[in-house]
């Protein structure tokens, strides 16, 4: 085997591909990659390191974030990863604005542990909301330092200088000018920042107010897209190293099974066979070629013993199980004290009308488009992981702890990959690849197969939500009670060396499983008497189970919001009120200053959605339907996530002879404060909205009492082209209704667009048919059965 002596060529290609558009526009195609990175200024931040150790770049050094090149271009280094919303382009826009350099002359390197600072990676839709701030402050500081250098060089007082496109000149005499490249190109800033943490790191310069941002608010094309459509991008799946081999896992055929025997003779004469890897219940086969490993994993004869008791109920009995589990004592789980406002008991006692409803949301999965994967290279006693996991820094710590290596001997190179929307199985695959690579002493690529990914990926927990409402004589909600049960007793965190799947199979157990949460609704409704509580219940089997739970895009938001926003619709229907006006009324009550501000923004977003849709007030359901099989209806839902507000309206067609639901038209009004790149945001919102539609119409992980039976795109359907609406309108509100507060910061965007969609579809089905379905997904058979039961 040929050892890898330096930064692999593949990675050089990846990085140069990533900024190819920049190179082309800057006319720099002839500049070699090594030429860039060996410039003196880049030594600290991004020079290709000899194989280990890999210290963490110091976030208090300007040089760790920004490199100015002699040709007056800049490279930004940020500790973020991009699951596909184009955040790297957004960071370039913001940093170019603060640095005062042309956007086209910048590029951005993201998320690899040895050459970018530790900003965790991505998650929580916090890219712009939280993590763009240190970037902006550092860029502003770099600009300040460059201005000081120019003042000395040009012998012009600082206040008489102006800067544009990385050129500093004297206001009075344009001939007196110097470029950033001339001032510092190829050299280090050597400026130390202050701040205790990466989120507080700062220099002396202030960031610009919003009106002074130039690129921010424009829509330059995302820099990652060209290479994604011409086939030139090197993805994590494309890394090839000398001497590499391919591994495939052999998962237990039954949840909770114990591996009792492996017959290696069943595979060891197959072509390319390298080794069977086994420890505890972890089992994998390694072969020279990929297709050989796939074949060997299928052929390997292993004997498994079933667990003595069923690991979980069948999915058809899940909610009955959860109802029982809720009252069982000793159930592993967490119970939070109820959040109470006013006096709900009194409100219910004095109600003119009370409503009760229960909503069911099954397990839904990541089911990434391609299975989890990683490449691990153990050369020279180090470990380099090539992965698309969104939290590369956590992965480094996890792999180091799992293998018992010092963290600075582990490097994670983040590369693009399929759909990383939360705690996916990417980190499980990375630990598997790392362990096998160390055992074999060869680079190993692990790739989960389709059935493995769909069955064994982490899941968003099932929810059972009970809601009660007290309506006064005017039909208004005077009392409200929300009780959620969440099947989330062993919620997996990110990159935990004691909970990644391979550790579980090897017998590692946390002393105490970390219960997840039963999320509460996130809205700004002013309901005077309100009680909300969530409780976590567990399935019988907590470990080595395919029904393992973890963060899935907008964790628990779609579940809680489906229940809460369906129920508001039920209250509106009981009050014979228009569902939009009913919500507007709940948001019009006065409150403290910040509450009033949030409600004002909420009202603006709901009204923007209604205006785009052409909403005319009337109660649901629609009374007069045309003859024939197609019933049409409309539904609205709203949420307040963090500080981001989303209102969605769906127009659906329900076929009463087949039960098929088609969302013919969708509107999503969205306010996330300052919008950095409107077109990129529109796409992310469009896709998030459709992801919500997929979870509303199709997605459910099903299982019997032995194993998950959703194993591919037939047994686990998701949205397809045929489901796509005729029209989607995304309305970016980005407005502050208070003229005294015109400078909103950016809030989170991405996940928020999933939250209300399930309820909007359910409400639209009710509007069309008069039938309230309190269980997602709205698959044809479920809808048809509900319509038949109601005589529709």
């Amino acid at each position: 085997m040929k050892p890898v002596e330096s930064f692999p060529r593949e990675i050089e290609d990846l990085l140069s591909t990533h900024r190819r558009g920049f190179l082309r526009s800057a006319g720099l195609l002839a500049v070699s990659f090594s030429g860039w990175l060996t410039s003196a200024g880049a030594q600290n931040a991004a020079a290709p390191q000899p194989p280990g150790p890999y210290p963490t770049p110091d976030f208090r050094q300007v040089d760790s974030w920004i490199v100015i090149h002699e040709n007056n271009t800049a490279t930004f280094y940020v500790g973020k990863t991009d699951p596909g919303q184009g955040t790297g382009t957004g960071f370039r826009q913001l940093m170019s604005d603060e640095l005062d350099i042309a956007f086209e002359k910048t590029t951005c390197i993201m998320g690899s542990t040895d050459n970018t600072v530790d900003q965790i990676g991505s998650g929580g839709s916090t890219a712009m909301e939280r993590d763009s701030w240190p970037m902006r402050r550092v860029a502003a500081e770099a600009r300040r330092v460059l201005l000081e250098m120019a003042a000395a060089r040009l012998a012009v007082p600082l206040e008489q200088l102006t800067v544009r496109d990385a050129v500093i000149s004297a206001r009075a005499d344009a001939a007196k000018r110097v470029t950033y490249g001339e001032l510092i190109g190829g050299r280090k800033f050597s400026i130390t920042l202050t701040g205790d943490s990466i989120n507080s790191v700062t220099g002396r310069a202030k960031t610009k107010p919003v009106p002074e941002l130039h690129y921010t608010g424009q829509s330059p094309q995302r820099d990652d897209i060209p290479a994604k459509v011409d086939g030139s991008l090197k993805w994590a799946v494309d890394v090839k190293l000398p001497g590499m081999v391919h591994a495939r896992n052999v998962k237990p055929p039954f949840a909770g099974a114990t591996l009792t025997a492996v017959d290696e003779s069943s595979v060891n004469s197959l072509p390319g066979f390298v080794k069977v890897m086994r420890k505890g219940n972890y089992l994998a086969v390694v072969c020279e070629r990929e297709e050989q490993a796939i074949l060997a994993a299928r052929r390997l004869k292993a004997t498994w013993r079933k667990p003595a008791t069923p690991p979980f109920p069948a999915s058809a009995q899940l909610f009955d199980y959860m109802r029982t589990a809720s009252s069982a004592s000793g159930t592993p789980g967490a119970e939070a004290a109820p959040t109470v406002v006013g006096n709900p008991d009194a409100a219910f006692a004095g109600a003119a009308q009370t409503l009760e409803a229960e909503y069911e949301i099954p397990f839904q999965g990541h089911t990434a488009f391609s299975g989890a994967h990683a490449m691990a290279d153990p050369s020279k006693g180090q470990m380099t992981i090539y992965s698309n996991d969104m939290k590369s820094y956590g992965m480094r710590r996890c792999v180091a702890a799992f293998l018992g290596m010092p963290p600075d001997r582990v490097r994670v190179v983040w590369m693009f990959g399929p759909q990383g929307y939360g705690r996916s199985a990417a980190e499980d695959a990375a630990c598997e690849a790392a362990w096998i690579a160390r055992e074999l002493g060869r680079p190993v690529r692990v790739q989960w197969m389709r059935d493995e990914e769909t069955a064994w990926d982490t899941k968003g927990p099932a929810f059972l939500v009970s809601l009660r409402g007290a309506l006064d004589r005017d039909g208004r909600l005077s009392g409200y009670s929300y009780r959620a049960l969440s099947c989330d007793a062993n919620h997996l965190g990110y990159n935990e060396p004691d909970s990644v799947l391979i550790a579980q199979f090897m017998g590692v157990r946390k002393t105490r499983p970390a219960a997840g949460s039963a999320a509460l609704p996130s809205d700004m409704y002013a309901i005077p008497n309100r009680s909300m509580e969530g409780r976590v219940v567990g399935l019988p089997m907590l470990w080595e189970t395919p029904l393992r739970t973890g963060n899935l895009r907008d964790p628990n938001g779609p579940q809680a919001t489906f229940a809460a926003e369906s129920f508001i619709d039920e209250a509106a229907a009981a009050a014979k009120a228009d569902p939009l006006e009913y919500r507007l009324h709940l948001l019009q009550s006065a409150g403290g200053d910040d509450d009033a501000f949030r409600r004002a923004r909420s009202l603006a977003v709901l009204r923007a959605a209604a205006a785009a849709f052409g909403w005319t007030p009337r109660p649901s359901p629609l009374r007069s339907q045309a003859a024939g099989p197609i019933l049409t209806g409309r539904g609205i839902a709203y949420s307040f996530r963090g500080r981001t507000i989303v209102a969605q309206i769906a127009e659906v067609e329900v076929n009463r002879t087949t039960g098929h639901v088609w969302a013919k038209r969708l509107v999503c009004a969205h306010d996330c404060g300052l919008v950095v790149n409107p077109e990129a945001l529109r796409r992310a919102v469009e896709c998030g909205t459709l992801h919500g539609l997929s979870r509303a119409l199709h997605e459910e992980v099903q299982f019997n009492t032995e194993k998950v039976t959703s194993v591919d795109w037939i047994s686990h359907p998701a949205l397809r082209h045929a489901d796509v609406p005729d029209r989607i309108d995304v309305v970016l509100v980005n407005g502050d209704p208070n003229p005294n507060r015109p400078d909103l910061p950016p809030y989170g965007a991405g996940e928020a667009a999933l939250k209300p969609m399930l309820a909007a579809i359910g409400n639209a089905i009710y509007d069309a048919t008069g039938v309230r379905i309190r269980r997602v997904p709205f698959r044809d058979d479920r809808v048809l059965a509900a319509l038949k039961a109601a005589g529709v």
Partner: protein, 166 residues
């Protein structure tokens, strides 16, 4: 192992692989192509699609020895250094999120437009329906196909013009 001859994107290759090896792994691992992707290995999602004899086919279950005809992959769509109009439309419309499925979307759309230069919305939905996207870029894919169709074949003929042609 046996000798297999393949013509891919205009270049001929002679390889020594098992005849039953799915074409996908040969393209990716022996020829170093990155356009076709492994998505499901079950011919269900379309990530691995290539064009053979004008049809977009799933390469993940296609034995390499059974391939008859020249193979075009995503890398082979551009000509003379110019992107295919579909690829350009994908950039203009900013279609991808993660982008992992877009090989399948583009190759399926290419086969569609080659046969049906002015597809209706219904024809697009039908032709594209087995090509999955987990980021849900479907809506924008359909918009981009219409944009590329206009670029390749000009505006769709009106009903009257169609009648005249008929």
């Amino acid at each position: 192992m046996s000798r297999i001859e393949l013509k891919v994107n205009g270049r001929s290759h002679t390889l020594d692989v098992e005849p039953a090896t799915p074409l996908l792994y040969v393209l990716r691992n022996d020829l170093g192509l990155q356009g076709p992707k492994f998505g499901c290995g079950l011919a269900q999602c379309g990530a691995c699609k290539v064009i053979i004899n004008g049809a977009a086919v799933t390469s993940c279950v296609l034995p390499v020895a059974s391939v008859k005809g020249e193979i075009t992959t995503l890398e082979g769509l551009a000509s003379n250094g110019k992107l295919h109009p579909l690829q350009q439309a994908w950039i203009d419309e900013q279609v991808p999120q993660c982008g992992f499925c877009q090989n399948g979307q583009i190759m399926t759309a290419k086969a569609l437009l080659d046969k049906t230069p002015h597809p209706t919305s219904a024809q697009i939905r039908q032709a594209m329906n087995d090509t999955l996207c987990r980021c849900m870029s479907y809506y924008r894919v359909q918009v981009a196909i219409k944009r590329a169709s206009q670029r390749i074949a000009g505006p769709a003929p009106t009903a009257e013009e169609k009648e005249v042609q008929a």
